[in-house]
Amino acid sequence: MYGQTVTMRKRITSAVWALVVNTIFWIVIPYYLGVFLTGRVPESALTVPTFVYEFGILFIILEVGAAFFQGRGVAVPMISGVALLTVVYIWYATNGGNLGVETSGISLVLGFRTMLYVLVLPSIWAAIRAPLTYVVWRRALRSEAMPSRAAP
């Protein structure tokens, strides 16, 4: 939350925690998932796409930055960035809501673009909410600081 005093010790702790959690979530889990899938189906070329790691690095940078600068205006674009990156990531990962497989002469195509719009709605709102929350807080702060214009 904005306006609260955050010590440097707490900032560093939060940033390190964000680094560890996001590295596990975006790098370690996808890597071992790829190793597991390759081991289970050795004849297939199942690999984790490179974009997963590329997005993972961006997520880590933004999350660590947001944790370090928590409570400050600098954190706002980082929080919004994470939300927008989530939208792009989901879009990429689901091929824009159009997933297809082909096996034994049968092709299956699952289309769910409208559903995808609904699924990314919370992330889009999170991207908008972060700057709005900051603006609302600033306005509240300014109105508190202004002298009262009440009748003498």
Binding site: G105, L108, V109, G111, M115, P122, T133
Partner: protein, 153 residues
């Protein structure tokens, strides 16, 4: 005041997403169960006939499509023409929630002798099931299996 309004929007967005995801999942499950029950042969809802006149065979399939879900369902059958002697009409049915519709599919093979003694005749067909407006599943498969080289039903 402002912060509470933002929280209100967050709650509303979350509820909308949960509601849509929940109802879509429920509808998909109900429709899948209905189709599965139909294919299991519990009811005589899929009726097929292959009529042979000379060397021309007409395949007719009438499928009753139930919709137990909460969203309108559209089922479409169509096929490409790998050779000029296969004529297949695209057919589609819209089924409103709680109702059922009949899909009437016709396919005419003018020279059925080419199918005799061969399992490799391919008529590329497409079955598209759409739970409007959220999800659709398109299955591309071989409709050559519908053609009975011996004729009859």
């Amino acid at each position: 005041m402002g912060i509470w309004a933002l929280r209100g929007v967050t709650v509303a967005v979350t509820l909308v997403v949960l509601l849509v995801a929940g109802t879509v999942a429920y509808s998909a499950y109900e429709d899948y169960s209905a189709v599965k029950a139909e294919l299991a042969g519990g009811s005589q809802q899929a009726v097929g006939a292959a009529v042979l006149r000379g060397s021309t065979e007409t395949v007719s399939i009438n499928i009753t499509v139930p919709n137990n879900g909460l969203y309108p369902l559209n089922v479409t059958l169509s096929c490409d023409y790998p050779t000029s002697n296969v004529v297949c009409q695209r057919t589609s049915v819209d089924v409103s929630p709680g109702g059922e519709g009949v899909l009437r599919f016709r396919m005419t093979v003018s020279d059925v002798t080419q199918f005799e003694g061969s399992d490799n005749q391919v008529i590329n067909g497409t079955v598209a099931i759409s739970m409007m407006p959220f999800v659709s599943l398109t299955v591309g498969t071989n409709f050559g299996g519908f053609v009975k080289t011996g004729g009859g039903q």
